[in-house]
Every structure is written in C-alpha cells, then in structure tokens.
Amino acid sequence: MRLALPRSNRAPILNWVMGVIGGLLVLCGPNAMGADLPDEVVKQEEARIAAIAKGMQSAVCIFANGGNGGGSGAVVTKDGYAVTNYHVVEPAGIYMKCSMADGRLYDAVLVGIDPTGDVALIKLLGREDFVPAVLADSDQVAMGDFCYAVGNPFLLATDFQPTVTMGLVSGTHRYQYPSGTLIEYTDCIQTDASINPGNSGGPLFNMQGEVIGINGRVSFEKRIRVNMGVGYAISSNQVKKFLGCLRGGRIVDHATLGARVATSDEGRVLVADILEDSDAYAKGLRVDDEILAFGGRIIRSTNMYKNILGTYPKGWRVPLTYRQGDKTHDVIVRLGGVHGEEELIQLISREKAPPERPKKKPEEKKEPEGDKPEKKPAPPMPQPGPHGAGQAMPDAVKALIVARHGYANFYFNQLEQSRVWKAATDKQGSFLALGGEWKLNGKTADGTPVEVSLNKDEVRAKLGEEEVRLELSKDLPAQLEAISVMKEPTKNNRSPQERKQIASFAVGLSMWRDLLVRGPEKFGDLNYYGNLEWGKEAELADMLIGTRSVVEGHFVFEPASQGMLSALEVLADVDGEGCTMQFANFQPSGMQQVPQQVSVDQAGQPLWVITWDKVDLQGGTEASEGGKP
C-alpha cells in the first residue's frame, strides 16, 4: 500500500532525519572523539596496553657493576634464567645487578655465552616465581606486523621502569655481515621500533606479548650513534636452539658445515670447497654438489644458506639435501665449529677492550650487498644509587660460580650434568653396582649371531665369525689405527671395512658401559653439551660429551625415552669413522632398564639392527679411576 504523506507531515519527517543524523554525529562523528571513542578503538587500545603490560613483566634492565654500562634482557624461566646480548654482559663480568618493572633489584650471575651470535644467558637470584616471557616461533613473523621493544635505552631506567618503543617488523630473515668483530647477525628480524644503546639484549615482542627476537644491533648513520629507523633482533628460534648449550655454562660456538658455498651464475648454490675431515664429507658431499635444502629450508642463495647456518650451535645434527650429478641425497650432518676451541677463547679475551675504546673510523667504501653496521660498544655511564663500584659479591652469588678454562661458568655445567644423570637413573636405575663382566648375545635383523663381552679392561665383539678384540687400558689409538689401515680381507674373508665397523661398534659399547657403570663423576672427561634435535621427531634431547683417549662419545638422553640414555654417537679421531647407536625397547632387568635393541649406523648408513636374546650384567665395583670430572 502506497504511503502517501500529506504535505503537512513533511516537516516532522525531516526533523526526524536530522535528529537521527545528529545522533549519529554525536555517537560516531569526529566531534565525539574526546567524549566517547568508538568501541573498536577502545578495544584495540586495551589490547595493546594488555600486551605491553604482559611483555614488561619479563623485561630486565641490566646494570653492569662498576659503571661499565648495561643493557636489557628477558627472563625466560620461572627460576630466573634470562637472555641478553653477549656484548652487554662482556664488560659486566660474571656478576651483575638487574632491575625489573616490579621496582626491585636482583643479583644476577653469568651462565653461558655465545659470542659469535651475540647472545648470553644469565640467572637472576632471589625468586622461583619470575614471570617468564614466551619465546614465539619467529618463522611465523611477517613483515608489516606490529612489534614493540622493551629495554633500557640510554640507561634511563633509574626508577627501574623499562622503556617501551613500538614499530613495525621492517624485514625478516635479514643477514648482517660481520663488521670486523667476530659477531655475525644471521636470520634476524629488522624493525623500525626505536632501538638505542641500552636496548641491547632486550626483548622484541609481538602484539600477543611473546618474544620474537632479542634486540642487539642497529644500522647507524656514519656520525650519529642513535637509532636511524633500522634495528635488528636475533630471532627467537635461534635463541631457542642455543638455550640448552648456554644453560650448560659454556662458551658456545657457531656451526659450520665444513664447506664453503657460492652461488653460480644460474643461481644455483654449489659447494666451492669442502674439508675432508668434515662430517658433510663423510656423508658424501663433494665440491660442485648443489645444496637444495638445509635445516628444513629450501636454499635459493648463499645468503639464505648463511642465514640458516648462523642460527645453529656447533654440534647440532641438521638435515641436508644435496644433488650430486643427477641423484639427490638426504643426509643428517653433524655441524662442526666455526672456531677452534682455543681460538674462540682467545678471540673473546682480545675482545675485552677497556671502556674507552677509540671509535672506529666511519667506513667510506660500501659493498652493494650490504652495509657493515658497527658494533655497538657499551657506553661508559656513571651508575646511580646502590650499584656503584666496589660492590662486594654476595655469598649467594659466589656459590653459583665455578671458574674453569673454556667455560663461562662451570658451575652450571655441573648442575646440568647432575640434572640429566638424575633423570636418567631415576628411570633406568643405577648401574654402579654392575662393574663386572657384561655379556650380551643376540642377532642382527638378517639372523647373523652377535656376541659381545665387556669389562673394564677389554671388549670383545663378534659378528658372525668375525671378532674384534680391543684392550681398553692399552694403547687404544694404536689398536684402532692398526684396524683402520688394514687393506686385505680378514682370515674369515670379511672385508677390512666390516672389521672397522665392528671395531667402532665395540668402542661404542665400551663407552656405553663405562658411563653407566662409573657415572658422570668417575667417567673422567665428561661435560654437558646442551640440547639438540635428535631422532625422527627432531625433539630436543640432552647430550653429554665424554672423551676416552682419541674417542669422543656423544651420550644422548631423549624425552621419548623418558630421559634414559637412549643414543650414543662415537667419533673416533682415527680415520674419522665412528658409529651411532640408538637404543630401544627398554625392558626391566633386575633393578635396571636395559635396551633390548640397538640400531647401529655409520656415516648415516644403517649397519645392523641387533636384538639381544640374552643380557647378563655381572655385579662388582670398578676400581675408581679417572681424573677430575
């Protein structure tokens, strides 16, 4: 039905319309900004405030003792482990003070350092209920995401309240050339959030209040040492990889493949050079092979490769896909160290410059592929309040320090060793009373009988008809050398190669028995390595490294085995051939759990899967041996 409004009703309708528009103006229009914000805006503000408040709970301001500078950090565990930059702790030494947004000052001790990656781990004392920051998956960060940095720029936080600056993620997976020092920033997150001297070591958060990076570096104008819109944060995924090793109080080195790569004219990444004693070489990699994937990433350029390589600690096992001729190979490579052990230690002591270091001359020449931002020195600042020079170290802190050459703080290595061993023995039981003869009998998958007998002096391993006997207290290197140089088939007509494999297996089993029977204290040269990804599921496992003359044993304790000793890789200096043993099918045997199956690999190639029919472990105690742990 048509609505016909008489003329006289027009005015009220127009009034009504104007009233509605006026009402809308009041509710939504710009004049209303002061009085009533739109709900959406209020919601976003509150979300931002909440995210920042969450992030600030775990942010730390670090004050170096004696007024040598400072920076920032982020607490990552409830009991106070905090991540920061190496260049923040380096002038501070082993003891420093930290403030948090709750207004309190905490003592802190150095735990571990990664000088090349510019990361360090410290531990705050005095609380078991710190609010830890969550380390997010930095691979999920996209350019254009908002982010915020929390820290102590210009050491402003005399009231212990950190500074918050906000910005965008300006770039991801950025590679920064080493600028003359040993520090190389790889795979980092670039941000335009204001990062200034003092922000170093502090967290970069996403808008959910999770850590996506640790701020550490900026690109500077040639003359002005303040933020120019370009800051870099070490990715949280890299920090996660190093965390275990840093917890072990170590001076952690970065990884190398033992090969140099270069991009060809067609854009293929080829091996230019390779060390013959590298694990990559042992796994078949040669010059001119093409790198297709590394660490789970498809590699399209040398920068990409360097980026992903730079996020790994020395010693990690990483998947590599390469093409040789027309065949593609998938292998797991054990990464070596960029520096020699002593070399790294010396580089660090050379780095310890006095606070008044002469400024580097601004670089005139720049290469097209990237600029060389200068290393940020810790600015010498006068320290206000209680943290002046001459502060004595509290006893609680002294108790957490054990100095030892080659370690940042050996106390924590002992702590982690004990933790790992306790967790292992809680589950697998103690083998300390089983110091007598061990006899294991079984078969390989194809039915070949296997006989092994072990005691503290000797190991005998027999596979089929071929037997290898090694005397452990005599010159082990010479015995292994003798086997490795054999070229003729053995008496039983087995290849010398097979004899070497059995020898490796024998050595591995003897090390396995040694650790179980002696325990970490008496084993001898044993230390906590840290965490690394192990196994098909690539779960983080603990690892101890023990050395027996020329043999190095990597003892792995996997979460999948509830922390029991479940794998062992043996590296022999002689000939570079070792073997990897994966223990499975743990069954109770007396008071202990004993693996009923061991899979043996060499250079990534499976050798045997041995199932034991009969395991006889004799009691007895070994005469104590070995030097300092």
């Binding site: 609505l3 319309v17 996209a142 995401d145 819109g229 854009g267």
Partner: protein, 336 residues
C-alpha cells in the same frame, strides 16, 4: 513517499560516513605483500667516498618501466635492476626530468606487477603511511625491501635556493615523521596503510648545517605529467658518441662569461653565480641564479659536468643551455 525514501537514504549515508569501522591493526602484512612485488632494487655507479651504489625503484607498467629518483647511482654505463623475485636485469635509462630529479628506467620483461600512477592517492597531514625502500641496501637478491611506518607530518613546498640546498625541485612534498630516507631508500614508495601508492621517496637531501636527513616523499600527482613526457620520449638524454674527441679549440665557461657557484660539494648543483658584462652569456640572456640543467641536450647536473660538456663543444658552434629560472624552464642559446 519520496520524502521517506530520501530520509532513509540520508540515514544510511550518514551511517556509512560517520561510522567507518576501525580495522583490527596488529599487522600490516597484507599491505606489504601487496606492494613488494612492484618494487625493484637498483644498482649502479658509486660505491666510493661515502656514496652508496644502490637505491630503490618501482614498476609503473607491466612491460618493465621503472620510476626512481635521479641520482649518481644511474650515472654509470651499467645500471642493474633486481626484480622482487630476484631476477637480475639490465636497465636502460629512458629519460630524466632534471627539475623533478626523477628518472624513467626500462627493463625487458612482461606481465610484471606494477603501480598505476593514475590511481595514486592523495595524503593529508596526519595520514598514516608505510614507506618502502632498500635502506642501507639490506635486502639483496629476492629479499623484500624494508618497510617502515609513519605519518605525514606536513605537506609543504621545497624552497630550493642556490648554494645552500642540493635540489632544484620546487614542488610540494610530504614531510614524514619516520626515518624513511636513509641511504638506499630514494626511489622507494610511500603508500597508505592499504598499500595504495601516494608518493616516491625523494633523493637524499641533508641539511648543510646539521647533516640531518630530510625524510620526505614527492606526491605522485607532482610527477604524473613529467612521467608521461618521459614515456613519450621527451627529455631523452643523448648518448655521447664513444669516439667523440674533444675539439682542438673548445668553448670554456670563462670565455663564454659564465661563472658558476663554488664547487664545494661532491656534486654541486650548477647554479650561475655571475655573468660577465658584455659576454656571450649576457647577450644570450643568462642570469645569476639560473640553474643549468642540460648542455646541448645532455644532462649536466653538477658544476663539473657542465664544465666537461662545454669542453666538448667547438668554439665555432653554439651552446644550448636548458636552465631553470624560478619555476620556469628556459632554453638559452649562447652564440659565438
């Protein structure tokens, strides 16, 4: 009836106008993904005495026309462009506009994502923007250019004057509150938060007193006309014949009666400082404060370059100068 419909329509329009929903803003990643494929990295001459040999640019046509800031990076013989996907192409300098200091490059490619200059948006003071540029040359290969966020602090005109400032540009600019124009950024883009093109990041300009960089963009509407001219082939710089030799008796600025400003900067803009009385230059109408842009059809954007170009012209030949006087472009012919 009409009144009721009108009323309802008015109400709906009012709702639409006044109640614009505020989008969830924890990420501008979508805008970055939209813009990045249209950007290029440019590499060329330079790389010494503190000057970078890289800058940024953006595609304005599907077949590979690129707009960028004109700078010394483009001076050399070989200009290389990296597309967003990492493809490396040789670029030809198709045209240069000396007043706007922009250059049009061309690479040989098809079906490239690009900006349409006609669809550029205008910004206001307070507009929230994103700036894209290869600051510090951080991005190489197929890595994306850096993205920064900021707002338009001011919309104003450049008041370039002889000597103190290093640009002849007199048009309007957006001054930004973000640190956008770092080395490597010139030729990059300023967009709104949805990734729509608004301006080009201009060439590096520093205050001679403080050394501070000016962070600014040149609005696209200032450039559109000039770009069309460049596309049409006007102001194409002539290539000097490789075998050309200096004439035995060439012109010189002194003989012509032209005195340029003191050559103090690495590339001093060639402003005329004075014209000798009774000289060829005075007769031709050259005046103080004129800025020389081209000599006989060839770009000459520094005192050195002007001197050099003049030295290739035989004394018996005329010298055609294109100069900027105030906002005008004039041709001045010096006849011997």
């Amino acid at each position: 009836m009409m009144q009721l419909r009108f009323a309802l329509l008015a109400v709906l329009v009012a709702i639409g106008v006044f109640c614009r929903p505020v989008g969830a803003q924890t990420s501008l990643a979508a805008a970055q993904r939209l813009v990045e494929p249209k950007l290029v990295k440019i590499y060329g001459a330079g790389g010494s005495r503190g000057l970078e040999s890289y800058q940024s640019g953006f595609l304005i046509s599907a077949d590979g026309e690129i707009l960028t800031a004109f700078s010394y990076v483009l001076d050399g013989d070989a200009t290389t462009v990296l597309l967003s996907d990492g493809r490396k192409l040789t670029a030809e300098v198709r045209g240069i506009d000396p007043r706007l200091e922009i250059a049009l490059l061309k690479v040989d490619a098809q079906d490239l994502p690009h900006f349409n200059l006609q669809e550029a948006v205008k910004l206001e003071v307070g507009s929230r923007v994103l700036a894209f540029g290869n600051v510090y040359g951080i991005a190489t290969g197929d890595e994306p250019l850096s993205v920064l966020r900021g707002i338009v602090s001011a919309k104003t005109t450049m008041a370039a004057r002889s000597g103190a400032y290093a640009t002849p540009y007199r048009g309007s600019i957006y001054v930004l509150d973000a640190l956008t124009n770092n080395p490597g950024a010139p030729g990059g883009v300023v967009t709104n938060r949805s990734g729509a093109l608004a301006a080009m990041l201009g060439k590096e300009l520093r205050s001679s007193q403080t050394g501070a960089l000016l962070h600014y963009g040149v609005p696209v509407e200032e450039l559109v006309g000039a770009v069309e001219d460049l596309r049409a082939g006007k102001t194409r710089p002539l290539a000097r014949d490789e075998r050309a030799k200096r004439p035995k008796d060439a012109h010189s600025l002194e003989m012509l009666g032209v005195r340029l400003v003191l050559d103090l900067l690495p590339r001093t803009p060639p402003y005329v400082d004075g014209v000798k009385r009774g000289s060829i230059a005075e007769r031709a109408g050259l005046k103080s404060d004129d800025l020389v842009l081209m000599v006989n059809g060839r770009m000459a954007s520094s005192c050195k370059a002007v001197r050099e170009e003049v030295g290739y012209i035989d004394q018996v030949d005329e010298v055609r100068l294109m100069v900027q006087r105030g906002k005008e472009l004039l041709e001045i012919v010096l006849m011997p």
